[in-house]
Amino acid sequence: MSMIVLVSGRQVITEPSRAGPPLLHLTGIQKTFANGTVALRGVEFAAYAGQVHGLLGANGAGKSTLIKILCASIQATSGQMVWKGEEVAFRTPLEANRAGISTIHQDIPLVPTLSVLENVFLSKTGGFRHNARDRQVFRDLCDEVGYAVNPDALIQDLSIGARQMVCILQALSFGADLIVMDEPTASLAREERQVVYRTVRHLADSGKGLIFVSHFIDEIVALTDELTVLRDGSTVMHERTADVVEKDIAEAIAGKTVNALEHLRHERGTIRDDIVLDCTNLRSPGKLAPTNLTIRAGEVVGIAGLLGSGRSELMHVIFGADKHAEGEVRLSGKKMPRSTVAAVQSGMALVPEDRNQQAIVPTFEIWRNITLPHLDDTAKGGFLLQRAAEFARADRAIEQLNIKTDSPETFVTELSGGNAQKVTVARWLFGDVKLLLLDEPTAGIDVGAKADILALVRDLARQGMAVVIVSSEFEEILAVSDRVLVMRDGAVVAERPAGETDDHALILLAGANEKSNGHNGAETAGNESKIDA
């Protein structure tokens, strides 16, 4: 069942070599925010040189807070931090950096208009903008990592995976001894992940300490030497990876037995006769090849495809958000103009891929975000706002989707990823939605929130909604869909009933093999990767 791509080198570390004291040792770390939120309630954590340490936890468990404390962008309320045998309290990220802790954040803070070389040496002081020595150092770094990238390429022209690698190079250029990676693989395609895995193992073997944060349990199991699980701000598990199995880890994260997604399969077969969506010759120059698609009420169609396969483009074209699209979209028989205003009014709903950029209004609280798409329904005469009606909707959403918050007046930007994602889904629950388009609704969120959202999808289908769901997690698609479309290079390349295929077949169809190792130098790294399905 595991889809992880194993990287060689793992076998070498079956017996973790704990040479000497830990590089970093945290005891009793607590953090209480000014608004009274307790994020950490006493975390115990130790990282050793030459080891990869996995850090797991549900959304809101305190992972992000712990990382912010490690890189000193916030300070712990209490607790002890020992770095290389000395008690320390870094006040600024720069101090932590100088001491040898580099953090690679999830959102990749590089300057897109500068070159790779310039980004890697961004914080270098003095000297000219370009010099030969930098290039030599850069080449050495690339050799050290076993990854090659053109130093003169602009960051904005690189794929997300390549940018992630540049971040790693940048961290190494500081001479870091401990590298903290916050969900480095969350937004990467499969082949891009392998490059990151390989690099991580390579760095560990050369004596660096690494902290690897991830939501993917299989990834953690395959890659790390030790792992720590946080739940509700405390350490609930700290084991050698070899000593635990995936089920135990999942239980530690969720705090209860997770019954995978198997049960969803039994809820298929809610398909009705009436056609909700009918697309003919739908296309967009350079993004989407001509596509025909018919979806009935109560049907869940999964779209399996890698990043850049045209899956998001298809969603946007259906929704009328792509100005250059051509072809015909009919919703319940009615021809749709190319306009998101018309799409929403006729009963389409889109949960876009990028929550923060495309779905959430950061200046709005939960309640104002939830009522935004179908605002007219809550207003008197479709014009005069009625707070009470809006709050009633927000309260219902919070209860129904189990959104963890004190009040509907919390800003969505203050919620954890999974809860914010639930808000973006909740925005569409109370209007007259016939077709729900979900673009990666479960990316980067924890197991519990994932299960909640997928169960909701099946529930909505039973009520007669047509659903299209895009996901990089093919298991999820198989669990929740009635039918699966596979996309590659902007075209639908295969269609399968969900009951008659498996994730291995989908991976092959989606092109993981043909397109693998797309990065410069990835092939040169030697250790061949293989799929372990």
């Binding site: 994020a39 929704f319 799409a343 929403v344 779905a359 959430i360 200046t363």
Partner: protein
């Protein structure tokens, strides 16, 4: 029971502009009475400040709407001058009302042009309106042939005086408004009390505000009068505030500025709202220009040069975000009052115009600093 977040309404970031105005008025009141100059806190002087700030205040309200939608309008000063030039030039031959209608139409057209270029071609609003700022000023120079215009017939002049001049007694109106506020919020108060629900802070604020208005009206006496532009600005602000606060249109205006992509994918006509913002701004500038032209019955082709900066300063003082999605027209109005209170205070204290620029600039930057630093602290607290 009062809602637990009532303290928030009093922090520097939320209410700073009110504190600044109150502090300034008290300081000026004390200084003038100590130094034996003409009384600062007289009804005449205060209504005078209202009159002076009404035009900038009105444009500031519209500017706030543009800023909330995430855009920027530098052209308002030139557009107001265009409105003034058209109304003064055409009032003689066509009569004042027809001339005013044409001026308003022409100015709205400039807004449509601004909005179309920004939204349909996707050029930055700063650049586009910097262009129209210059081009429209040039148009005014062409229309006036570079000379001052004076309204040509006495009938038209009389109509202008009727529109802009004269004072309106407001004591009774204020008492009525105050009583309505008190009654309205008192009902809300009792209802919430009976139902046992939390009441927002605005209930208490509304009752106290209403009482204050009645008290001021009674203290000032029946000779309390204000100029017509003050009434126009008051009514205009009230309408814009009500639309922003109580209607779906207002909510969408904030959403469009807060996150245009999310708004578009939520089925909101983003380009439409943003273009409407520009049209509102230019139309309002046109109205302000008509008031300006009517005030003197004449217009100088360089009139209102730089007015856009005062307008934007008022909006910033009122805490409007330049990044869109946040702002309050009432606070912008208070911001305009603050700026003109400063000017007025300098004149009364006879401090000389040379110092004004320095102080005004300092006040604007200080205000922006308070809003920004306050905002960061809030974000940090949220983790």
């Amino acid at each position: 029971m009062l809602k637990s977040d009532w303290k928030r309404h009093f922090d520097l970031r939320e209410a700073g502009v009110y504190y600044a105005l109150i502090l300034l008025v008290i300081m000026l009141g004390v200084f003038t009475s100590l130094s034996g100059r003409p009384a600062y806190l007289s009804a005449t002087n205060l209504t005078n400040i209202l009159y002076q700030s009404s035009m900038i205040g009105m444009m500031g309200v519209a500017m706030t709407v543009v800023l909330i939608t995430g855009n920027f309008d530098l052209s308002v000063g030139s557009v107001a001058a265009l409105g003034a030039a058209i109304v003064v030039g055409l009032a003689g031959p066509l009569g004042f009302w027809a001339a005013a209608a044409i001026a308003l139409l022409a100015c709205t057209g400039v807004g449509l042009l601004n909005g179309s270029i920004v939204q349909l071609l996707g050029i930055n609003a700063f650049i586009v309106t910097l262009g129209t700022l210059t081009a429209i000023r040039g148009l005014v120079l062409i229309l006036t042939n570079g000379r001052s215009l004076i309204v040509s017939t006495p009938e038209a002049k009389a109509q202008m005086v009727f529109f802009e001049g004269g004072k309106v007694p407001v004591q009774m109106a204020l008492i009525v408004i105050g009583l309505v506020l008190v009654l309205w919020f008192a009902t809300a108060f009792w209802r919430a009390r009976r139902a046992g629900t939390e009441m927002p802070f605005s209930t208490i604020g509304g009752i106290i505000g209403g009482m204050l208005i009645v008290a001021i009206a009674l203290l000032a006496g029946p000779e309390l009068t204000v100029a017509k532009p003050v009434i126009y600005t008051g009514i205009y602000t009230l309408i814009v505030w009500a639309v922003l606060t109580f209607t779906t249109t207002g909510r969408r205006i904030y959403a469009v500025g807060g996150n245009p992509i999310a708004s578009r994918l939520s089925g909101i006509n983003v380009a439409g709202y943003k273009m409407a913002g520009f049209m509102l701004s230019s139309a309002t500038a046109g109205f302000a220009g008509i008031m300006f032209g009517s005030r003197l019955g004449a217009v100088n082709p360089t009139a209102l040069g730089g007015a856009e900066l005062t307008v934007i300063a008022a909006a910033i003082l009122g805490g409007t975000s330049l990044f869109g999605g946040a702002g309050s027209v009432i606070k912008t109005l208070v911001g305009a009052l603050l700026l003109f209170t400063l000017t007025n205070g300098f004149n009364i204290l006879n401090l000389g115009a040379n110092y004004q620029g320095v102080i005004e600039g300092t006040v604007v930057v200080t205000a922006a600093a308070i809003y920004t630093v306050g905002g960061q602290r809030r974000k940090k607290a949220a983790g």
